[in-house]
């Protein structure tokens, strides 16, 4: 066990994947000497050479398109998109090529790309630096989509993503890069929870709170706060956004009868809609209340001084829990009373 930051854990996972498979190459802007603007690839170019840690020209379609060509040649490119908001120039290559080539060629061509995207808000950045574009990708057939929430998963799942023969969009909650946690660097990858599976992070009985990536720590805090108020929340960390792992979700909602979904992305058409719809289909008779979504608003990401008014925080999540429990403002009354 070592204690690593989130960022270090991804770095270590990348290093291990590169050690084990010479076909793994990293590509991106500023990932070489600089080690990326978040330093996630720190030291890797020095150790593996500029052939395997490739600083590319400043063009995202170019990065993804050449990664497709490298995959045709048998490589496993790991692409870094510098910030979430810069993935869109590459959208065409991702949606029309990366996602479809395996299907299009009836399995002859594999696209084992990993597309790393530091995402989400909360770091006081300028515009286009705090986006949560995951729903664009979860709606894209042919992709797998992951979002990690802690150093251990970051370490393990980046390796699983690279090992996957399917393309994986790998969302890293950038505001958690400095979070520390224990990481077992020795454990066999084969013994880890598979990449497509969700995890029950906290068990509980009164309501189910499901989220992923940056809001998982917030959800854990919410569970603690709720417990103080006598409410037992079950927290599920989705980990895989496509496919969704309904098994633990369904089990949980059948138990609690109540569901709160939280994400930073805009509500309309966000992942929360799919989960609410999917759970309603699967657990209709068990639901005591409609699933509630606590999400970013249907606005472009706001200026940083206003971002706390867009991002779901502890209070808004507890408010959602209140509502799904049919006792609006109970938590707040408690706070105020205290």
């Amino acid at each position: 066990m070592s204690v690593l930051t989130f960022g270090q854990a991804i770095n270590a996972g990348l290093r291990k994947a590169m050690d084990q498979d010479p076909k793994v190459v990293l590509m991106g802007e500023d990932i070489g000497k600089l080690g990326g603007v978040f330093r996630i690839t720190d030291g890797l170019q020095k150790d593996f050479g500029a052939h395997r840690v490739i600083d590319t020209p400043l063009a995202e379609a170019g990065i993804l398109g050449t990664a497709v060509g490298l995959a045709y040649r048998g490589y496993r490119p790991v692409v870094e998109i510098q910030f979430d908001g810069f993935v869109y120039p590459a959208f065409d290559q991702i949606v029309c090529q990366v996602a479809k080539l395996h299907y299009r060629t009836r399995g002859a061509v594999s696209m084992p790309l990993t597309i790393r995207v530091p995402f989400g808000g909360g770091i006081g950045s300028p515009e286009h630096h705090s986006e949560s574009p995951e729903a664009y990708f979860t709606h894209t057939s042919g992709l797998r989509v992951i979002s990690v929430s802690n150093p251990q998963d970051a370490y393990t799942m980046i390796q699983q993503a690279i090992a996957s023969n399917d393309p994986v969009v790998f969302f890293e909650p950038k505001r958690r890069y400095h979070t520390k946690g224990e990481v077992d660097e020795e454990a066999e990858l084969s013994t880890a929870l598979p990449m497509g599976r969700a995890r029950v992070a906290v068990e509980g009985t009164d309501a189910t709170l499901v989220t992923y990536g940056p809001l998982v720590p917030t959800a854990l805090d919410a569970a603690t706060a709720a417990l103080d108020d006598g409410v037992s929340l079950e927290v599920i960390d989705l980990r895989s956004l496509s496919p969704l792992d309904y098994e633990p979700l369904v089990a949980s909602v059948r138990k609690t009868g109540r569901l709160v979904i939280a994400h930073e992305a805009a509500q309309s058409g966000g992942l929360g809609a799919e989960i609410a719809a999917g759970i309603t289909e699967r657990c209709f008779e068990y639901l005591e209340a409609p699933p509630i979504r606590v999400t970013g608003f249907d606005i472009p990401y706001p200026p940083s001084k206003l971002e706390t008014h867009h991002l779901p925080d502890l209070d808004r999540i507890l408010d959602g829990v209140d509502h799904v429990l049919g006792r609006p403002y109970a938590f707040r009354a408690q706070e105020a009373g205290a």
Partner: protein
């Protein structure tokens, strides 16, 4: 920016010297020229047969290459088996050179599949519909070749219209930056559906390359020998570690954009006539004739090959098996995907329910 148009065979079929191209085709004797001639005749016949199949409802669509035989055969025949081709949708001639089967040529256009062939069997990717996207794939593949220390090359085929796309320009940036062994082969057939090349550019397309630091040649794309030579030059540069090259093959799309298009809506009959006089096949025939090679035997042989190809294509096309319904779910992912599996099972049940209910109803 004035860029010379290089050629070796005039419109009238005269062999003319060119100091840039000549050294690269010294090995091409009249026998080999006859082979190139045959290739062009055969692919034109295949193209015509496919057009006919479309008219007869056997293909959903066909993008004819009529007029571009020299550009495609000249470049296609320059390639080695271990080179890798990334083409658009019109490069049937190149596919033919790669050894793609006749039925495989039309599989996609019949609507059976999106993939006529296994790309690795012939080292040619499946045709690209998204204009320009394949130029980046070729560049990436070339990067891989470079990393592997191999001496193969990648070649990207694209049209005059495609030169406007960001992807094509980014491909040149990446190729130049990494000195990747890739050839940008632009068939300037003068039209992008209804848009004349002058809408994309007022200057010759080959002129784009220099600014990116990529050497370019502009050749008569209806001159099979000139195209062969230019492609060999570029390949040699790629194999020697000299990085990317750009070739503009100036040719003409004599047919419609696809069988769904009606070019009389947007272009002059005169233009077509002018280009008919520059036909890529006629001029080689004339050259062979002048060298006494266009014998009745050769003509019979070529005609027989073309007939056989046409028959093979038709038979292959009609013999294609329709895909089965559950194919819609196959190969979306390389590994199981829980949500898709659920949908597959549900649809399977749905289809089965008709039979079940149907047999009930009948009983």
């Amino acid at each position: 920016m004035d860029i010379e148009l290089l050629s070796l065979i005039t419109e009238e079929g005269r062999r003319v010297p060119n100091e840039i191209l000549d050294p690269w085709v010294t090995d091409v004797d009249t026998g080999q020229l006859a082979d190139l001639y045959q290739d062009m005749v055969v692919i034109r016949r295949i193209d015509a047969e496919a057009t006919a199949l479309q008219r007869q409802g056997e293909l959903a669509l066909w993008p004819p290459l009529l007029g571009q035989e020299a550009a495609q055969i000249g470049s296609g025949r320059a390639l080695r088996a271990d080179d890798f081709v990334f083409s658009s949708y019109r490069e049937h001639g190149v596919a033919y050179c790669r050894g793609v089967g006749l039925d495989d040529l039309v599989r996609v256009w019949r609507g059976n599949t999106f993939s006529g062939w296994n790309p690795f069997a012939v080292n040619m990717a499946v045709p690209q519909v998204i204009i320009g996207a394949q130029t980046l794939h070729a560049t990436g593949y070339a990067l891989g070749i470079q990393h592997d220390g191999a001496d193969a090359a990648a070649i990207a085929y694209f049209g005059d219209g495609a030169t406007s796309q960001g992807d094509v320009n980014e491909a040149m940036v990446f190729a130049a930056s990494f000195q990747a062994p890739v050839i940008f082969f632009c068939q300037n057939n003068h039209w992008a559906i209804s848009e004349p090349v002058g809408l994309q550019a007022h200057a010759p397309l080959a002129g784009r390359a220099a600014g990116f630091g990529i050497p370019a040649l502009r050749v008569d794309g209806n001159d099979v020998l000139a195209v062969l030579a230019a492609t060999r030059i570029a390949l040699d540069r790629a194999r020697a570690g000299g990085g990317p090259s750009y070739i503009e093959a100036v040719t003409y799309r004599m047919g419609p954009h696809t069988t769904a298009d009606d070019p009389t809506r947007y272009r002059d009959a005169n233009e077509l006539e002018d280009w008919a006089a520059k036909d890529p096949i006629d001029r080689v025939a004339a050259l062979l004739e002048s060298e006494g090679m266009l014998t009745p035997e050769l003509q019979a042989e070529v005609a027989a090959a073309a007939d056989a190809a046409a028959q093979g294509l038709r038979a292959g096309c009609l013999g294609l098996h329709d895909p089965v319904p559950m194919d819609v779910f196959t190969h979306v992912y390389a590994a199981p995907h829980s949500e898709l599996d659920r949908q597959r099972a549900s649809y399977e049940g749905y289809l089965a329910s008709f039979e079940a209910v149907g047999s009930e109803g009948n009983s």
